[in-house]
C-alpha cells in the first residue's frame, strides 16, 4: 500500500516515518510538500511530528492554512486514512478535523520520555491489530500535549468511543502520576466519529525497530496495512 507523508516547513519526523514505512514495513512511501495543490494517489496520509512554522502563535495554527490542507480535508471527507502524530495531531485539531485543543504541558516544560498507553479502542483502522485494554510503551516529545475539550465534546468523545489511547501506568492503571502533560482524562489519542482520522501525541515511528529497544509502535502501522489487505 502507499503512504503519503506531508512535509510542512518545520516538520522533523517526516524522515522517521518514511524510514519505518519503507525500510521496516516494506511499503511504498512518498513525501508531499505542503504547498502542493493536489494529492498523488495514496491510501494513507501521515502528518508527522515536528514544529511546523516553528509552532509560532500556537502549534498547528499556521500549518492549517497550507495549500495542501484543502486536499487533506477532501481526502478525509472521502474516507481516506489520516494519521496525525504529535505536531500532526496538533494540526488536525487546529484544522478542526478532530475536536479539542492542545495546551501547554502543565509542567510548562518540553517533555521527552517513554510513557505507557492503554488501548481503549481496537476497532479502528489504526489499532485493529492491538489488544483492547492492552498497554503499549511509546516515546513522547512535546511541549503542548495537554489535551483539552469542553464538557460536551468530551462526552461525545466518550459516547462515540473516539478516545483511542490514554496515558497509564505500566500495569494499565489510569493515574495522574502517569499523565505526563496534564491532558484531560489522560487522553493521548483520539479519532473522529468515522474512525478514519486519528491523532496521537506519542510517536509510534520511534519504537518500531529492535535496535531502538522497543517495537510497540509497529502495531499502529501493521493495523493500517491490515485494514487495506
Amino acid at each position: 500500500m502507499k503512504f503519503g507523508i506531508i512535509v510542512f516547513p518545520g516538520s522533523n519526523c517526516d524522515h522517521d516515518c518514511y524510514h519505518v514505512i519503507k525500510h521496516i514495513l516494506k511499503q511504498e512511501a512518498g513525501f508531499i510538500w505542503h504547498k502542493e495543490g493536489s494529492l498523488p494517489p495514496v491510501d494513507c496520509l501521515i502528518l508527522p511530528g515536528g514544529f511546523s512554522h516553528g509552532d509560532y502563535l500556537r502549534p498547528g495554527a499556521i500549518a492549517k492554512f497550507s495549500p495542501i490542507m484543502k486536499e487533506i480535508r477532501k481526502f478525509a471527507y472521502n474516507g481516506g486514512l489520516i494519521l496525525g502524530i504529535c505536531n500532526g495531531f496538533q494540526i488536525l485539531l487546529e484544522a478542526g478535523l478532530l475536536p479539542g485543543v492542545m495546551m501547554t504541558n502543565r509542567s510548562l516544560k518540553f517533555v521527552c520520555d517513554n510513557v505507557y498507553l492503554r488501548l481503549e479502542n481496537n476497532e479502528t483502522p489504526f489499532t485493529n491489530q492491538g489488544k483492547l485494554g492492552g498497554v503499549l510503551k511509546m516515546p513522547i516529545a512535546h511541549f503542548d500535549g495537554n489535551y483539552y475539550a469542553d464538557e460536551k465534546t468530551l462526552q461525545e468523545l466518550k459516547d462515540n468511543h473516539q478516545i483511542v489511547f490514554r496515558y497509564c501506568a505500566k500495569n494499565g492503571d489510569i493515574t495522574d502520576d502517569a499523565n505526563p502533560n496534564g491532558a484531560f482524562w489522560n487522553i493521548s489519542g483520539i479519532c473522529n466519529k468515522e474512525r478514519n482520522v486519528l491523532g496521537m501525541m506519542p510517536h509510534p515511528e520511534r519504537c518500531a525497530e529492535e535496535i531502538l529497544g522497543n517495537e510497540d509502535g509497529r502495531v499502529i502501522f501493521e493495523s493500517i496495512i491490515k485494514s487495506f489487505a
Partner: protein, 617 residues
C-alpha cells in the same frame, strides 16, 4: 560543510545552588537549548551539567553538534572563480549583536549592562528552513563555497571566504535584505543577526539557487561577486565605503605572545594532605550526601527536556557513559561524549587537560566505541593575566599530549576568554567533546548491570587519592590537593582491554569510574538501567583508607560485569593487553553492599540520586 547535523551534546556549568540566580539560569538555559534544538529536529543525546561557585558570575554553555557527510560531498567556506556571484541567504539583517564578538571578549563589570548590544533572538524555525534549503542546493552541482555568518557577520564571512580562495569579493550593500530602516554600511557589515549564510555559486546558477530558497520562504539575494584582486570591496548606492585586502582581516591577524606565570594559589592548594583529614565513621550518610550532590545526581531533569530521540537513531539515550547513535543503512554506530572536570584543571591544568581527554575516551570505550577524534571548547579567564595565560598553556599542552598518545586528532575547537566578573575568574574549563566509532552496532555496551549472578570486575588500579574529589568538596568543603594522577600507558591498556572484551561480546556492562569514585560508579551500575534495578555485593581489598577506597577518583578504572563462564576468556584478554584487574563481587539482591562500609537498598540510593536536582530547581 554539507553535513546534516545528526546529534548534539551540551556542556553546562552553573554557579552553586546557593547563588540566587542559579535556578533561574538553569531553567532558562536548558529551556533555551530545548526550544532551539528540538525545533530544528536535531536530537540532543547527551552532555554534562556541573555546578560550582566559580561559575556564579559566569556560567558556561558549550554545545557540540555532529554531522554526517559523504566525504566526496564536503563543502568549504571558500570563494573561487572571479565573476562567480556571491549570494546572501537566510534571515534579513537587523541591528542585532553589533559588537557582540568584541563584547564577548571583555570582562564584565557593573557597567556592562549599559553597553549591551541588541541581543540576537534566535529563530530556530528559520534555522531549520535554512538547514534544509542549504542541504537541498548542496545536493545539486552549483555551489563553489558556503559559510555561515557568525561573529562579525558579513565582514568575517566574506573576508575568510575570499582569503581561503586567494580571491577578492565585492559586495553591494544595497542588495542586502534588511529588517530595519536606516542601517549604515558599518551596521550592515557588522550585524550578527542569526540564521544567515553566504554562498558563492557557479555563474549561471543564480536562478536555480534562488528557486530553492524561495521554496523554503527564505530571503535570497545576489549581493556581489568574486574578484581576482584579493580585496574586500564594499559598495553602497554606487559609492565605495570600504576596501581592504581580505587577507589582512583573516590570515594576518596579530599573534599574541602574552606573559605567563604559574599562579600563586597553587602553592597553597597543593599543600593539602589527607593526613590531616579525619577518617569518617558513618559511610552510609556520606554516600547518600554524595549521590544527592548536584554534580553526581541524575540529570534526567535536564535531558527530559531535550528531544533525544528524533531521527530515530538514538540507541543509547542520555544516562549512560556515552550516547550511541546508529547510522542508518550501515551496521555502524557512533558514540559521543563531552567531558571536563574543571576542578582538576584548577588544581593542575596540565593533568586536568589530560584527564579530560582520557576520560572522554574511556567513556566512549565503555560504550564499545573506538575513539576517533576530539574537538574542544577552551573556556578561560582574562588571558592578559599571566596566571590565566599559564593555565591556558598548561591545559592545552595536557590535551595535546593525551591526544597524541591516544591517537585522537583535535579536528576543531573554540576559545572563550575573559570569563571573569569583577576580577573573579572561572576555573579553567577546557571542555572536550570526543567521537568514536562502533563497527557493529549490535555490540554496543551500556553501563548498568544486567543479570543476577554476573561477576563484577574492576579494570585498573586504585590509589590513595582524594585531591580535587567531589567527596572532598561536598563532605569537607575543600577544593584542594593534587588531582588524581594519570598514566597514559595504563589508561591505554585498560581501554584496549575493555574495548576488546566488548567487541568479542564477553561482557554485559561497562562503566567508567569518575566523580564520587567506585561507590558512586557501582551505585549507577545498580540503578541506571531503564528497566530494572540490580543489587550487588562487593568486596574490595585495598590497603587504603575507607574514604579513598570508596570515593577516591583514581583514573583509568572501569567496572564491568560478565557471565561467570566468560571469566577465563576475560582474564586472557586483560592479561594480553597488560591491563590490571580485580574480581570484586557479584550482581544480585536488592541492596548494594560494599565491604563492611556500605549496605543500602538500591531503591533508596536511586531516589536520592534521581530527585536531587528536581528538588533544588
Amino acid at each position: 560543510m554539507g553535513a546534516r547535523p545528526i546529534a548534539s551534546l551540551n556542556s553546562l556549568r552553573f554557579g552553586s545552588f546557593d547563588h540566587p540566580k542559579t535556578r533561574y539560569l538553569l531553567n532558562g538555559v536548558v529551556g533555551g537549548i530545548a526550544g532551539y534544538g528540538n525545533c530544528i529536529g536535531v536530537p540532543t543525546v547527551g552532555g554534562e551539567t556541573y555546578f560550582n561557585k566559580c561559575y556564579n558570575g559566569n556560567i558556561l554553555v558549550n554545545v557540540f553538534s555532529l554531522g554526517l557527510v559523504k566525504k566526496e560531498r564536503i563543502f568549504k567556506g571558500v570563494a573561487c572563480g572571479a565573476g562567480n556571484p556571491v549570494i546572501y541567504v537566510g534571515s534579513k539583517t537587523g541591528r542585532d549583536g553589533i559588537h557582540g564578538a568584541t563584547m564577548a571578549s571583555e570582562e564584565f563589570d557593573e557597567k556592562s549592562g549599559e553597553r549591551r548590544p541588541t541581543v540576537q533572538v534566535g529563530d530556530p524555525f528559520t534555522e531549520k528552513l535554512l538547514l534544509e534549503a542549504c542541504l537541498e542546493v548542496m545536493s545539486r552541482d552549483c555551489i563553489v563555497g558556503i559559510q555561515d555568518m557568525g561573529a562579525a557577520g558579513l565582514t568575517c564571512s566574506s573576508c575568510e571566504m575570499a582569503s581561503r580562495g586567494g580571491t577578492g569579493i565585492e559586495i553591494d550593500l544595497s542588495k542586502v535584505p534588511r529588517r530595519e530602516v536606516g542601517m549604515t554600511p558599518y551596521e550592515l557589515m557588522l550585524s550578527e543577526s542569526q540564521e544567515r549564510m553566504l554562498l558563492v555559486v557557479k555563474k549561471g546558477y543564480e536562478k536555480e539557487v534562488e528557486e530553492v530558497f524561495k521554496k523554503w520562504d527564505l530571503d535570497v539575494s545576489v549581493v556581489g561577486s568574486v574578484t581576482d584582486d584579493g580585496l574586500l570591496r564594499v559598495m553602497n548606492d554606487g559609492v565605495m565605503v570600504a576596501e581592504i585586502p581580505a587577507r589582512a582581516l583573516s590570515e594576518e591577524s596579530p599573534v599574541y605572545l602574552r606573559p605567563k606565570e604559574r599562579p600563586e594559589y597553587l602553592s597553597m592548594t597543593q599543600r593539602f594532605s589527607i593526613d590531616n583529614l579525619p577518617e569518617p565513621t558513618e559511610y552510609a550518610e556520606i554516600f547518600l550526601k554524595l549521590l544527592g550532590s548536584p554534580n553526581i545526581a541524575g540529570k534526567g531533569w535536564v535531558y527530559r527536556q531535550y528531544d533525544h530521540m528524533v531521527r530515530t537513531n538514538t540507541v543509547v539515550y542520555p544516562g549512560s557513559d556515552a550516547a550511541v547513535i546508529r547510522i542508518k543503512g550501515t551496521n555502524k554506530g557512533i558514540a559521543m561524549t563531552v567531558d571536563c572536570n574543571s576542578r582538576y584543571c584548577y588544581l593542575d591544568p596540565y593533568i586536568g587537560g589530560m584527564i579530560a581527554v582520557a576520560e572522554a575516551a574511556r567513556n566512549l570505550v565503555c560504550s564499545g566505541a573506538k575513539p576517533l577524534a576530539i574537538t574542544d571548547c577552551l573556556n578561560f579567564g582574562n588571558p592578559e593575566k599571566p596566571g590565566i595565560m599559564w593555565q591556558f598553556e598548561q591545559a592545552t599542552n595536557g590535551i595535546s599530549d593525551a591526544c597524541k598518545r591516544l591517537n585522537t586528532p583535535v579536528v576543531g575547537g573554540n576559545v572563550s576568554f575573559y570569563n571573569e566578573t569583577q576580577g573573579e575568574g572561572i576555573y579553567p574549563t577546557p571542555t572536550v567533546a570526543m567521537v568514536g566509532i562502533i563497527p557493529d552496532i549490535n555490540l554496543h555496551q551500556t553501563q548498568w548491570f544486567k543479570d543476577d549472578g554476573d561477576v563484577i570486575v574492576m579494570l585498573g588500579k586504585s590509589y590513595e587519592e582524594l585531591g580535587g574529589s567531589e567527596y572532598l568538596a561536598v563532605v569537607h568543603g575543600i577544593e584542594e590537593g593534587m588531582p588524581p594522577g594519570i598514566e597514559l600507558d595504563l589508561e591505554i591498556a585498560v581501554q584496549n582491554a575493555c574495548l576488546e572484551v566488548i567487541q568479542k561480546g564477553i561482557i554485559k556492562s561497562a562503566h567508567d569510574c569518575s566523580e564520587g569514585g567506585i561507590a558512586i560508579a557501582l551505585a549507577e551500575c545498580c540503578f541506571s538501567g531503564p528497566k530494572f534495578n540490580r543489587g550487588a555485593k562487593v568486596t574490595i581489598s585495598e590497603n587504603i583508607r575507607g574514604d579513598c577506597l570508596l570515593f577516591g577518583e583514581s583514573q583509568s578504572r572501569i567496572i564491568v560485569s560478565l557471565d561467570k563462564g566468560n571469566l577465563d576468556h576475560f582474564k586472557e584478554i586483560a592479561e594480553k593487553n597488560k591491563a590490571p584487574f580485580k574480581i570484586i563481587g557479584r550482581v544480585g539482591g536488592e541492596r548494594l553492599v560494599i565491604n563492611e562500609l556500605i549496605n543500602c537498598p538500591v531503591e533508596v540510593l536511586k531516589q536520592r540520586w534521581k530527585m536531587a536536582i528536581k528538588e533544588r530547581v
